[in-house]
Subunit: 271 residues, 2 copies
């Protein structure tokens, strides 16, 4: 992939559509543009899923959705984009269990499929970098560590389950700046939900030496730093998997997101 | 108060304005119309409070707010209404501590005061009654029992704290109907957040014989019934009190709400 091909989300989507996108992750692509988590459900579950997002916006910030059966991504999010082909790859789950990974899902898309697009924390990470507070996993060139928690979502119809959080270590003295920088990103999880040993205890996270996250890579926490926990877009996927609904559910492959035409400032509240 | 005076919210607001409203509660007044919790803050805290609502919409469903310094309630909520006079009474808190109760707050209202209006569960209670599932406290002519919980809100700037829940006992066999009936009321707390012994344990509620709620009146739980817990509009008041912000904060007196011109169906999602 040449540098020019990385510059615009549309280029990346075309690469995906041509099954020519080979990178393990979309992290860092098209700086300044937003990316989305994708989840595709039968339309009979759409109202409950929409409500799961409305009741739990920190974990499940909904950016938009398709019409039932229409694979066109809303123009407001991405121009001329087909959700069946424009992610790098897809994870297919059947009856709540991972079944296979595919590069496109034309044959899996149904007349009653609805795709939901959920905000991604890459947006506020760029702002943290710009303000001299780069997340450790970026410095280490790793995936962000993510943890399942005991924190229950507000249930919505068939969906419930628990919050998943991502973790970035920061010095306590920098915590208020980290909160201030991430606060405006209301559509991409926003400011942290908890921090420190007290936060870990509340969330039920026991991996205090950071070596064994539930998803992503281990990170390094240095002397004087505390773990800072943020809402995470893996939450709605786990909620759907844990709900016990039968049939086929499709998500983007974690880390390999749908590239959007909207910019980070578009998912950021201006005060 | 004559029956005709109870019929329209505007009449009740005029009674309040003339300091002629004497009932202990607005529960059951003007059936079909919505009521609002009110909280009044200095404008420097408005952005954080707005965000507290956006991040915790089940506990803190924001219906609207005034312009800073302008006591006019938004026309979309109530016509020709002055927030300084149109609640039955007000509780004034200074530095987080209850100071006094007043019938109007013209002298307390400042150039930088902002009033927020928050949805109230009276709306879905009418729907429960209509569907043959009347909440027990209405049958007993008592206030709904409310409990402080261990469930943390997603913090928002200076505001954080814990969810307060209201409790209504139902038979387990009726739970799914109760969930279905209350689900659409997205602006007035919506479907329950937890239920049963498992729910009480998760929320940290130990008053299992229902004799000692933190707010409101005790209720009766019958054989075969479980406690069903809903988000509660007392939550944002407690969050503000517990935030440690200095200065004056004003709320409506609990149970004595602002009568709105909007109807229950206006705060109800149509699926």
């Amino acid at each position: 992939m040449s540098d020019s091909q990385k510059r615009f989300p549309y280029h990346v989507r075309i690469l995906c559509r041509n099954k020519a996108f080979t990178a393990p992750s979309t992290a860092g692509l098209c700086p300044g543009y937003s990316q989305a988590n994708v989840i595709i459900l039968p339309s009979k579950f759409a109202a409950d899923f929409r409500l799961l997002g409305a009741r739990n916006p920190v974990s499940c910030p909904l950016l938009g959705e398709t019409k039932p059966g229409d694979p066109q991504v809303p123009e407001a999010l991405a121009a001329d984009s087909d959700v069946r082909t424009d992610c790098p790859s897809y994870n297919i789950y059947r009856d709540g269990v991972f079944a296979e990974q595919k590069e496109s899902i034309e044959t899996e898309w149904r007349d009653d499929s609805v795709a939901f697009f959920i905000g991604c924390s890459y947006s506020f990470e760029a702002a943290l970098v710009k303000n001299g507070l780069p997340p450790r996993h970026l410095e280490l060139n790793r995936a962000v560590p993510m943890y399942k928690t005991n924190y229950r979502l507000c249930p919505a119809g068939v969906f419930g389950g628990h919050m998943v959080v991502s973790m970035r270590p920061y010095r306590l003295v920098d915590l208020e700046r980290v909160r201030d920088i991430t606060r405006p990103f209301v559509k991409t999880h926003g400011e942290p939900v908890a921090w420190g040993l007290d936060g870990a205890k509340y969330l039920g996270i026991t991996d205090l030496d950071r070596t064994n996250p539930d998803f992503g890579d281990p990170t390094e926490i240095q002397d004087g730093e505390v773990a800072v926990y943020f809402g995470c877009g893996v939450t709605p996927q786990l909620s759907v998997m844990d709900s016990g609904i039968s049939g086929e559910v499709i998500g983007h492959t974690p880390g390999r997101m749908l590239m959007l035409d909207i910019k980070d400032e578009d998912v950021c509240l201006s005060f």
